[in-house]
Structure formats: structure tokens, C-alpha cells
Amino acid sequence: MLNQAEDITLEELKQGSEQHLRKVYEDNRDKFINFAKRYNLPQDDVIDVYQDAYVAFYNNIMSGKIETMTSSISTYLFSIGKYLIFDKMKKNNKTISSDYNMDIVRDQEDVMENITIDNQELTHEQQLLKTHFTSLGKQCQELLKLFYYRGFTIKDILAQGNYNSENVIKSAKSRCLKTLKERINSNS
């Protein structure tokens, strides 16, 4: 299958520059709106679903669930978008006609096999962690994001050249976690 954003690599997307994120957004937006027309949703809802699908797609890249692009970016976005639309319709108690299921394209089903979509609300503890995480110093936030969001190993972080040794990174990470725990405990 042709990849319509061939000039943008997975690695470039991971870097998350404004330019690349915008290009993928613009390249796929109109196609997604056309694709979603069959579900008779208001335009604002379609845009909202498109953005949520984009976020979920990006998350799967960052978590390593998508390691190589086996389909075009639009196939990923359509597949995730369709899942989210069905989910939205179910929540609104709208019935899904069997025609919709007949529309499912084989490679879209394949794509979804490796994708994780997390649309659960944060628990109270997670919400607290999120709040206190943003109050940490810049270096702590950066380090923890590299580890937990980008899935970097200590070696990957060392290779970036901002720390002198693996032990320094391990100690820094422990200190950051300790600070976070202390802040949460002093708040509760």
C-alpha cells in the first residue's frame, strides 16, 4: 500500500516536531472527514474523533507498539478512528448497522491487532501524579518522560549525551521518583 506521507519517517514522527505533526495532520484530515461521512456524525465530532485517533496513533508509535509502518498512516488513522466512532455510538446508545461492519477493509483489521487504545479516565492517584509531575524540575520531567513515555533504556538516555554515566542516570531517576512521592505524601 502506498504511504502518503512517505517523506516522514517513524523516527521523525517520534521527535514530534511541529512541522512533521502538522504535515501528517493536514495530509490526512480531509480524507478522514470524507471517510467518516458514512457515520453521519456532526463535523465537530468527526474532527474530535480524528484528533483522538491521531493521539492514539502517536501513542502507539511512542510506546513501540508500532515499530514499522506496515500500512499507510491514513490506514492507521481510519482504523483507530472507526474504533473510536463505534465506541462513541455505543456510548450514545446508537445502533451500528451491519452495513458498517461490511465496510471494514481487511488491512484495517490487521492494523488494529497491534494497536492499544486507552480511553479510560485517570484514577485519582494517577491524576495526583499527573499534577505533581508537572511541578517537578525540568530535568526530572525530561528524564521521566524519556523513560516512561518514550520507552528509552538507561543506555539510550546515556547515548543522548546529557549524563556522564548509567549510575548518574539511575540515581537521578530515583531522586525524581522520591521527590514525586514526597510531594504527593505532603499533599495527602
Binding site: S17, L21, I47, M62, E142, N162
Partner: protein, 242 residues
């Protein structure tokens, strides 16, 4: 192997088979280990959610840009026909009016515009990380606005902060790219982000630059009614426009 080591391997997806068995055993038997695991698992989810929120905000910004571009294109086609038919008549009378009685919008803009200083990112020589954010603010302080924008745009999503948009808008203002600055400032106001009062002020200045009196008055009124930033200057401008 320590608890920390086991957790590290779990979260970096590098557990061996033997380590996985040990990991599951401790999870069942060791309360402290189970609590530490739960904490890191929750933290991971919280960090991912934080990054998701930031990304969604950026996508909404792209959407607003697309919509305003569509709106501009829609009105452009209509506008040129009527503009062509009345330009001669209005042009002549407007010229006479502004010369003798009108407001000198450019003068008002120039005398009120002052780029906002960097109050968000402390640049120190000892900074170990030469991040895109640091490069952006170094360029901004060196008045190299083109490079500042380039670096702001290359800041990864995970590092995105609401104030980046504000300083990017400042850089566009200095380069006299009013529409780009306007779009960023409008999105700050829309998202109710940091620098909202300041953004309102600069939106009023953009309206002055565009000689859009009605818009300038509206922005200044919002500023004086809801925010404290540049109150007296805004009131003075309102008087000048009255």
C-alpha cells in the same frame, strides 16, 4: 537482583524469562515491591496522559489554522468583487478623512508595541542540555526571530509548554507576520492558557496595525474588563480610538 533493577527491566521491556518469573513471584509475595510497581505503573499512565493532553492542544491549534485559512479563502473571493466596485469612491474619501481627522494607527502601534521579555526560560551557561527550547530562547533573546521560530517548532511534543506559543507569536510580531502571530494568540485566548491577558493586548495591537478600529476596541475592552495587564495603556488607547 534488587527490586529497582527488576522494575527497571519491566518498564524498559528488557526482562528475561527468568527475570519475568522472579518479577511475578515478588509481585505476589512482596507487598513493598507490589506497591512500588503500582506507583510506577500509575506514573507511566499519568505521564502518557499529560503528553496526550499536550498533543491534543497542538492538534486543535492546527485545526484552528485550517479553519481560519478556509474562512479567509471563502471571504476573499467574495470580497474582491465588492471591493473593486467601491474602492475608488471610498478610497478617495477615506484618504481625505484620515489625513485631516483620522487616527494614525501605525503610530499608535509603534508607540505601544514592545516585545515581551523572556520571563519563562532561564538561560545559564552551565546548562547541560542544549534543547530546542533553550536554542529557541537563546535566539529570541538575540533577536534572531526566524531561528527562534524554527526552534520553537522543533520542540518535541513531550516538552511542549503553553508559553512556547506566546513567544512564537512574539517572534512573528517582530517579523511583522501579523496573521501567524494572531492565530497563535487567539489560540492562547481560546484555550485559556498562560499569558491570556498579554495575548489580548497583542491582539489589540495587531488590530491597530491592520487599521481595524472595531476589533482593536473590542480586544482592549476585554482586556480592561477582565485582566490587569497593561490596564492604563489599554485605557489610553481606548481614549485615542474614541
Amino acid at each position: 537482583m534488587t527490586n529497582d533493577d527488576l522494575l527497571y527491566h519491566y518498564f524498559s521491556n528488557t526482562l528475561t524469562e527468568a527475570q519475568t518469573r522472579e518479577f511475578n513471584k515478588r509481585l505476589e509475595m512482596d507487598v513493598q515491591f507490589a506497591a512500588a510497581f503500582e506507583f510506577e505503573k500509575n506514573l507511566k499512565r499519568a505521564i502518557i496522559q499529560e503528553a496526550n493532553t499536550n498533543l491534543k492542544t497542538r492538534l486543535k491549534g492546527f485545526e484552528r489554522d485550517i479553519k481560519s485559512e478556509e474562512q479567509r479563502n471563502k471571504t476573499k473571493g467574495f470580497r474582491w468583487k465588492i471591493v473593486a466596485s467601491i474602492v475608488f469612491l471610498v478610497g478617495a474619501s477615506w484618504l481625505g478623512y484620515t489625513t485631516f481627522f483620522g487616527v494614525d494607527y501605525n503610530e499608535l502601534y509603534v508607540s505601544n508595541f514592545q516585545e515581551y521579555p523572556n520571563t519563562e526560560f532561564a538561560i545559564t551557561r552551565s546548562d547541560a542540555i542544549d534543547s530546542p527550547e533553550r536554542k529557541a530562547f537563546v535566539a529570541y533573546e538575540a533577536e534572531d526571530y526566524g531561528n527562534a521560530i524554527k526552534n520553537f517548532e522543533s520542540i518535541p511534543t513531550v516538552d511542549y509548554k503553553a508559553y512556547h506559543k506566546f513567544y512564537m507569536a512574539q517572534a512573528y510580531l517582530k517579523l511583522e507576520e501579523m496573521d501567524k502571530a494572531k492565530s497563535l494568540l487567539e489560540s492562547i485566548v481560546f484555550e485559556n492558557e498562560k499569558f491570556i491577558g498579554e495575548s489580548q493586548w497583542y491582539l489589540a495591537l495587531i488590530a491597530l496595525k491592520k487599521k481595524d478600529k472595531r476589533e482593536a476596541i473590542q480586544q482592549l475592552r476585554t482586556l480592561t474588563e477582565h485582566y490587569t495587564y497593561n490596564q492604563s495603556k489599554a485605557e489610553a488607547l481606548l481614549k485615542a480610538l474614541d
